[in-house]
């Protein structure tokens, strides 16, 4: 029995026990359901072993939506606790665990897979490729992300949640102050998911640089692909810093080193420094693909080509450089003095310039455009004013002298939510509506979509604007309660209403998916939005080889030209197509990595060594496997094309 005591939760509550039961029931229901409907084989053949970028993209997006609801449930619990002064709904420890989980889940396991999911689905189609450069590595990336996410998600029922904040600052995160295994989960789950992200970065960098259709020079790439390219450059340069920082943190917690300890020559501030050396570029890893989505959506529904293509590209390149030189603005109050703070204040404000260029380019794209207000376009239009609110308060926070007032208050919380929700979440929802017909062959209901968009936009304002006020009045973030005399009660009650509106908005999206699945017409063709880029040139549903023949590109919008001027997009004859085979190795490695991480969290060294050997065995097997892929014959391609309505 003693062995199992380590898995007990140090700080239990009825809600956690209820969650345990719910998790067990749902897991059993899934297993029973799959067995009853005889879907194991289908699941294994079509999804678990797939290396197809489209399916991996869809799996990333499903995982992201699940995590959105996990993080959202955390948010509702926090807002409920704060909605009245001296509330007793949660105690301090649970509140700490919940805000930590909310932060990590929303950034790393919701926003990241959402953008990587769309990159997976869209980028190869936009550049006219048949898959990514390393399809099997792509599958491994997904399963590493998934293993990391699941490992993090079980922490609250096995051994205890991390409770040191999503930034996990030392010395708080060290053994002395965080005694449960929670922070081990943080270090190791993010490490595993981070390895997957790093591999994605290398994979997409290679794909975009090497696998573009004939004639597509860099300056003829669609804007989303450009944003994906820049994002992956940032990933490749920023994520190793996180890897190293997490490894050092793990060593400190499990092997008694003193990198981040405040004694024995350690330096606790170094964690904050390394975390934000990664953390600030991470902000741009999230926002640049979102900007790419807005560029596609706005140009499609303004019925105009994107204004200022070259300045869009230039501003992204400049942002990618500047994103690496501003990290200190996350800890202006740490004591490095006015000189250092001034330097990073100035670099921070410099980023507003290329971002402003992009905003004006979108506005000028709209100018004199024939605007069609669909749901994705509505999200993009709501994004501009709301994001600007978040951005302007960011400039206020960027002034280091004034930051001493705002630091660690709800003002900061309001700022980054007003940037991330309109910036990233609206973009992902716009992309979900925009690419849904390409993914699933029917459109989501536009009326329900627009109602949802308005509820979410107003909910965002109602939830986060009061925090600016209570934050300026001095309400600190990460405090589980406050006194009645502080006068924060009314603002937090308004926030609670906004949080419930957001919940209703997201529930409406789920209902919309159900409603449209039941009622939406299926005969929408392959280009329902009358769009401009190459992903709409292929059939719906997309055949596994994407394009029967390679498109020939000669302008920035060749697909649009082929529709309007009648130029030929696919001049070649059908030839046999070389495709990669499915593989079970990535999925198996994901499972082993999960067990590896679990053993590591609880410092169970023997299972850890066995899992490590298993990982190397998988890699060795992969290295010696002789798999040259397979060919799809001309007859088979012709038949598929005929079924889908003729070769393009």
């Amino acid at each position: 029995m003693e062995f199992f005591e380590r898995f007990a939760i140090p700080h239990p509550s009825p809600a956690i026990y209820a969650s345990m039961v719910a998790i067990a029931v749902v897991s059993i229901a899934i297993v029973v359901g799959l067995t009853y409907f005889k879907k194991w084989g289908y699941l294994w053949r079509e999804w678990l072993t797939t290396v197809d970028h489209k399916r991996l993209g869809i799996m990333y997006i499903i995982a992201a939506i699940l995590m959105l609801f996990r993080g959202g449930a955390d948010a509702i619990m926090m807002r409920a606790q704060l909605s009245a002064p001296e509330n007793k709904l949660l105690d301090a420890q649970h509140y700490n665990e919940i805000f930590t989980t909310h932060g990590v889940v929303m950034i790393l396991f919701m926003a990241m897979p959402f953008i990587i999911g769309f990159m997976n689905f869209v980028v190869p189609l936009q550049i006219g490729a048949r898959d990514v450069a390393f399809p099997r590595l792509n599958a491994l990336s997904f399963w590493l992300f998934f293993a990391g996410a699941m490992l993090f998600n079980i922490s609250f029922v096995v051994g205890g949640s991390p409770d040191a904040g999503w930034t996990s600052y030392f010395p708080l995160a060290d053994n002395e102050f965080s005694t449960s295994v929670g922070t081990n989960y943080y270090m190791i789950a993010i490490q595993i998911a981070g390895l997957g992200t790093l591999a994605t970065g290398i994979n997409f960098l290679t794909t975009i640089l090497k696998m573009r259709a004939p004639g597509m020079t860099l300056m003829k790439m669609p804007m989303f692909t450009w944003s994906a390219l820049i994002t992956n450059v940032i990933i490749v340069f920023a994520f190793p810093v996180l890897t190293v920082a997490l490894a050092m943190g793990t060593l400190d917690r499990l092997f008694g080193t003193h990198f981040f300890a405040s004694t024995n020559g350690g330096m606790d501030m170094l964690w904050a420094n390394l975390f934000w050396v990664w953390g600030h570029p991470e902000v741009y890893i999230l926002i640049l693909p979102a900007f790419g989505i807005y560029s596609e959506v706005i140009s499609t529904f303004a019925r105009r080509n994107l204004y200022g293509y070259k300045s869009m590209v230039a501003s992204m390149v400049i942002i990618s450089l500047l994103s690496f030189v501003v990290w200190v603005h996350h800890f202006f109050t740490m004591g490095q003095g006015a000189f250092v703070n001034s330097i990073f204040s100035i670099t921070t404000m410099a980023i507003a310039v290329p971002t402003g260029v992009k905003i004006f380019n979108w506005l000028l794209t709209l100018y004199k455009g024939k605007i069609v207000m669909t749901t994705p376009m509505l999200y993009s239009m709501l994004f501009i004013p709301l994001f600007t609110l978040g951005g302007v308060t960011g400039v206020m926070l960027g002034m280091s002298a004034a930051d001493y007032q705002y630091h660690n208050t709800m003002f900061l919380v309001a700022h980054f939510h007003m940037v991330i929700i309109p910036g990233v979440v609206f973009a992902m929802l716009a992309a979900l509506y925009y690419y849904w017909p390409k993914m699933f062959g029917f459109m989501l209901n536009d009326r329900l979509g627009k109602i949802g968009a308005w509820i979410i936009a107003i909910g965002t304002l109602v939830a986060f604007m009061p925090m600016f006020i209570s934050g300026l009045d001095g309400q600190a973030r990460r405090m589980y309660t406050y006194s009645e005399a502080s006068g924060f009660g009314i603002w937090n009650m308004i926030s609670m209403v906004g949080a419930l509106m957001l919940a209703a908005g997201f529930a409406l999206i789920v209902y919309n998916i159900y409603y449209s699945f039941r009622h939406a017409p299926r005969d929408i063709g392959s280009d329902p939005w009358d769009a401009r880029t190459l992903e709409w040139a292929t059939h719906t549903p997309i055949p596994e080889y994407n394009f029967a023949t390679m498109p020939k590109i000669d302008t920035y919008e060749t697909f649009w030209d082929s529709k309007k001027k009648g130029t030929t997009l696919f001049p070649d004859k059908i030839e046999k197509i070389h495709m990669p085979n499915n593989s079970g190795i990535p999925f198996i490695m994901g499972i082993i990595f999960f067990l590896w991480g679990f053993s590591f969290v609880f410092a169970m060294w023997i299972p850890l060594i066995i899992c490590t050997l298993g990982i190397f065995a998988c890699m060795a097997y992969q290295s010696f496997e002789n798999d040259h892929g397979r060919y799809i014959s001309i007859e088979e391609i012709e038949e598929t094309e005929k079924e889908l309505g003729g070769k393009r």
Binding site: L209, V233, F237, N273, F324, V328, Q336, G337, V340
Partner: protein
């Protein structure tokens, strides 16, 4: 004919890299201050790395040499920013205040 076949550049590079190694080894064998020793090590290390990259790893000999050099410059730039910025924030600011 022999002159064209003889890899003059590579041989000279090899000798030069041996010289660099010898210079770096001096730090161990001769008594010098920490600052001078560190300077010698850093300078020889970076020249050595550049030499290896260009001569023996053939950067700049394929058609994607621009991509290779841009990536290297970008990486070096970000490394310098990060290291100098961290030193500035974590160490120097407390020494010169």
């Amino acid at each position: 004919m022999m002159k064209e076949l003889f890899p003059m550049k590579q041989v000279m590079g090899f000798i030069f890299s041996l010289v660099l190694t010898a210079v770096a080894l001096m730090v161990y064998f001769f008594d010098m201050s920490f600052a001078i020793g560190m300077t010698i090590l850093l300078v020889t290390a970076f020249i050595q790395a550049g030499l290896q990259l260009v001569l023996f790893m053939h950067a700049g000999e394929s058609e994607d040499k621009n991509a290779i050099y841009i990536t290297i410059y970008y990486g070096v730039l970000i490394a310098i920013f990060t290291i100098l910025g961290s030193l500035l924030t974590m160490v120097w600011t407390y020494q010169f205040q």
